[in-house]
Amino acid sequence: MNTIRVVIAKPGLDGHDRGAKVIARALRDAGMEVIYTGLRQTPEQIVAAALQEDADVIGLSILSGAHNSICSRLMELLRQKGLTDVLVVLGGIIPDADLPGLKAMGVSAVFRPGTTMQDIIDFVQTHRIPRLPAGAKAAD
């Protein structure tokens, strides 16, 4: 199996990057190729990074409460670009009430405080979506 390529992104205005950086390092130590976008990325920039890096997975870290607005925009952009085979996972402070909505948008998993690095690694390894051969995506 090819190396899993993960874009870790910090959207929104928040700068609290401890979680994003710890997870980036954990996934890298687990053998994945990790691209960390750095801070304050717009959904447009994150999707562009995923496209350019041929990412299998996008990991978002959002602690500011802006997750609904940001994820909704990001998932819409992914659909527009035909990147429906990218696994999107979210980490942060996310209230229970928002979980069904995020799932409906297409966010595959929400990792909240207390989640272990190993759980996240396992989830990504099990759920990454197998890629079609290069070129097959351009069908539309």
């Binding site: 928040d14 990057d17 401890r18 710890v22 960390y36 304050r40 409460g65 009430a97 272990t116 690095m117």
Partner: protein, 538 residues
């Protein structure tokens, strides 16, 4: 004399602090060779202030119970402030939302979803007026957690005082205004380091002549610790930041004793009880020595490190949230035993959301119980002379001096930040801690041990998009009704001041009086100085 430790079986756990510092089984006089009371401790209120800055400890004055709060619209937060004051809080502390902290107006594209979420949205003087409606600035001290846009927000507070007919010479409070820890840890920076430092020295100079009782900066270790630093890194980086500010002030032509007495500090009250107590004691001793020996300060007030503390948000768990009440109480106790001058206690629901009014009141009650029921305020520095605590205090001093030498060797803190040194140290510590949690070398009750299948639901504060809608409407109305010529003229003058060397505060005050927004004022300076981009380090 060595006490014999019986060679009995010990529990199979690492005996180390939450920062990974190994701890001996027993501390004795041998742990403190050449201990000298006068040199290392001194009496409370006397150099080097290890035992506290007041000769009377808490007998003279208790710490200020200052609860950080802000959410939604200024009107929402104003109601919370009035409730906190009615419940016996002795100071206010403003939490701004992310757009305000980043110098963006509510209608900026990057503010999408963020308005009023993590704090209160303050876009112009009109919002500041609503925030303090019915609260006389002569009667409260206000702490404002604002950094890059600190001069703009401070100017709003000063103009508000003007409108309430309160003399600037008498008002008191604090602006955080600590940009170095933003580059190091919290990352809410706008401009590159050097112009950012100039804004800070402008405030030092302005306050020295016009607002003499204002605390011009709160040099903060809190965020450094939350980002993953050990206790020693928190202490060393914070104090080294302090040194960088003092140097910047003197380089800008100020005399040390003219501005250092108004500098204050802010530490994290974390979970390792004795290590934290020693950290605060070491902080006072190191600062007194640095100010006397490195900068030649003569005024006692320049030598006295005054600090606010806040319990560790990062230690709170979403699982079994009621446990957070105990964590916070113990952390607060360590801050009090370490002689904190001001304290914020976190609420039990903060790993889930911003606190509800009920949770915030319980947090305040925790401080009141400490102050009035436990008796810990009677004897000053009650751990002074403890073999263990004195040894930890000494260790902190040595570790801090080692970090000072490394950072001095790089050419100072700004140079160290530019090469990513403190950022990398912190990221390494954060990763190590997380590995300790996963390997159960560090137990977090309710998370990796003593896990409960039953979920205890606690009520949480919901902030919907209605605050954003109100703030958007308000800023739109403002732009249509104010004198646009006056705003443009004030912003042009601000750009000229920024490009030159004159103090920027008078131009900011005029821009505020004309109802220029935070975003407009920050943009004017972006035009001149550009924005900082960090090299992301993982």
């Amino acid at each position: 004399m060595t006490a014999a430790i019986p060679s009995l079986r010990e529990r199979d756990v690492p005996f180390q602090t939450v920062s990974g510092r190994p701890i001996d089984r027993l501390y004795t006089p041998e742990s403190l060779p050449n201990f000298d009371y006068e040199r290392e401790l001194g009496d409370p209120g006397a150099y080097p202030f290890t035992r506290g800055i007041h000769p009377t400890g808490y007998a003279g004055k208790l710490w200020t119970m200052r609860q950080f709060a802000g959410f939604g619209t200024p009107e929402d937060t104003n109601r919370r402030y009035r409730a906190l004051l009615a419940a016996g809080a002795t100071g206010l502390s403003v939490a701004f939302d992310l757009p305000t902290l980043m110098g963006r107006d509510p209608d900026h594209p990057l503010s999408l979803g963020e308005v009023g979420k993590c704090g209160v949205s303050v876009a112009s003087l009109a919002d500041m007026e609503a925030l303090f409606d019915g609260i006389p600035l002569a009667d409260v001290t206000t702490s404002m957690t604002i950094n890059s846009p600190a001069p703009m927000i401070f100017a709003m507070y000063l103009v508000l005082a003007e409108r309430q007919h309160v003399d600037w010479q008498t008002i008191s409070g604090t602006i955080q205004n600590d940009i170095l820890k933003e580059f190091i840890a919290q990352k809410e920076y706008i401009y590159p380091p050097r112009p950012s430092m100039r804004l800070i020295t402008d405030i030092f100079a302005f306050c020295a002549s016009h607002v003499p009782r204002w605390n011009t900066i709160s040099v903060s270790g809190y965020h450094i610790r939350e980002a993953g630093a050990t206790a020693a890194q928190e202490l060393a980086f914070t104090l080294r930041d302090g040194i960088e500010y003092v140097q910047a002030g003197t380089d800008a032509g100020l005399a040390v004793d003219q501005f250092v007495p108004r500098m204050s500090f802010f530490f994290n009250a974390h979970s390792d009880f004795f290590e934290e107590i020693a950290k605060y004691r070491a902080a006072r001793r190191i600062w007194a020595r640095v100010m006397r020996d490195r900068f030649g300060a003569a005024d006692d007030r320049s030598l006295k490190l005054r600090f606010h503390s806040q319990t560790a948000g990062v230690s709170l768990t979403a699982q079994q949230p009621m446990n957070n009440v105990m964590r916070t109480a113990l952390q607060a106790l360590s801050a009090v035993l370490g002689g904190t001058n001001s304290l914020h206690t976190n609420s039990l629901d903060e790993a889930l959301a911003l606190p509800t009014a009920e949770a915030a009141t319980l947090a305040l009650r925790t401080q009141q119980i400490l102050a009035y029921e436990t008796g810990v305020t009677s004897a000053i520095d009650p751990f002074g002379g403890s073999y263990f605590v004195e040894r930890l205090t000494r260790d902190f001093e040595e570790e801090t001096e080692r970090y000072f030498r490394t950072i001095d060797g790089m050419g100072g803190m700004i140079a160290a930040i530019e090469r990513g040194y403190p950022q990398r140290e912190i990221a390494d510590s954060a990763y190590r801690f997380q590995q300790d949690v996963e390997r159960k070398r560090q137990i977090v009750v309710g998370v990796n041990d003593y896990v409960s299948e039953t979920r205890v639901a606690v009520p949480t504060l919901q902030i919907d998009e209605s605050a954003a809608r109100q703030q958007l409407a308000k800023v739109d109305r403002l732009r249509r009704t104010r004198n646009t010529v006056a705003v443009r003229r004030a912003l042009d003058r601000l750009r000229r001041m920024a490009a030159g060397t004159e103090n920027t505060m008078p131009a900011l005050l005029d821009a505020v009086r004309a109802y220029a927004t935070v975003g407009e004022m920050c943009d004017a300076l972006r035009d001149v100085w550009g924005e900082y981009q960090e090299q992301a380090i993982i």
